[in-house]
Symmetry: C2
């Protein structure tokens, strides 16, 4: 019954404030951005992330597994999104030549066109919502702190070795 792992029973006010503000900021931002992407290009946020990632790689190409990193949390989820993008002609999928198990996903010209169509509004949304109330130095500070946190999270193993709570219900 006792968890006896954490000695800290609660967070202090500052921690709570940081946590809530982080969650709500990202939630509001994501909601707004998602709407803009949907209206301007019929893209979900995940699809946009995948396209944008591809657009940034050499040759506009990446292996499925490498694409997933940080964007999608299951293999089948990535397959689903890749198929969706392929049906719309925004990417192609071809077997990799060096490793026959792998699939190379490549962004098409149409894919790049959709990206281009969506970018201005995307940046505008970020400017209006995220950056407007922040100074140059705020943004730098934010980037530094959050980058540190993100890198830490990436390293931290998924807590599958957790206390193994008895499944309620």
């Amino acid at each position: 019954m006792a968890r006896m792992t954490s000695p800290s029973p609660s967070l202090d006010a500052t921690q709570l404030g940081a946590y809530f503000a982080l969650i709500e900021t990202s939630s509001l931002l994501r909601h707004a951005v998602e709407q803009q992407l949907r209206e301007a290009g019929g893209l979900s946020y995940v699809q946009f992330q995948l396209l944008a990632t591809l657009g940034d790689t050499a040759g506009g190409r990446a292996r499925m597994t490498d694409l997933a990193d940080g964007v999608v949390y299951s293999r089948s989820g990535l397959t689903y999104q890749a198929q969706t993008l392929e049906k719309r002609g925004l990417v192609t999928r071809t077997p990799s030549t060096d490793d026959e198990r792998s699939i190379d996903v490549t962004i098409t010209d149409d894919g790049r066109a959709v990206l281009a169509k969506v970018f201005p509004g995307h940046i505008e949304t970020l400017g209006d919502l995220l950056f407007a109330p922040l100074s140059r130095s705020d943004i730098e500070t934010l980037a530094e702190i959050l980058t540190r946190t993100r890198d830490h999270m990436r390293q931290t193993p998924p807590r599958s070795a957790a206390p193994r709570a008895r499944k309620s219900r």
Copy 2:
């Protein structure tokens, strides 16, 4: 075709870094927290937010509309979640006495019990993932900046008055 709203065609490296770090940090954090909440108490993140909000109000009670604020983005979505929580006996829904149109949602003892069961692991997850790599002053800075952004976003009207992009497809 031209949007001619924003003169800035792109973001600088710092802005991009802040944006990506924000999105990825919150995404990783939310994914981890969601898993913990699911395992420890069978709660989705939204459900946890609703319960926690209720737990913090006087009498553990709030009107449906007030509950929605910042958590859920459509009326029907809130109804759905409230019904789910009610079926599990974690909240009750009773017609409001002062305004017959309103519904008062109240957290039950079972609801509070689930919250209590879930809290320690929740806090532990936050400590391990979000706060571990941050100093006291980092957390204070983060809270200050993100609170400012969040308040700004709350004020900023939904961009429904936007350029009215022609619906593709």
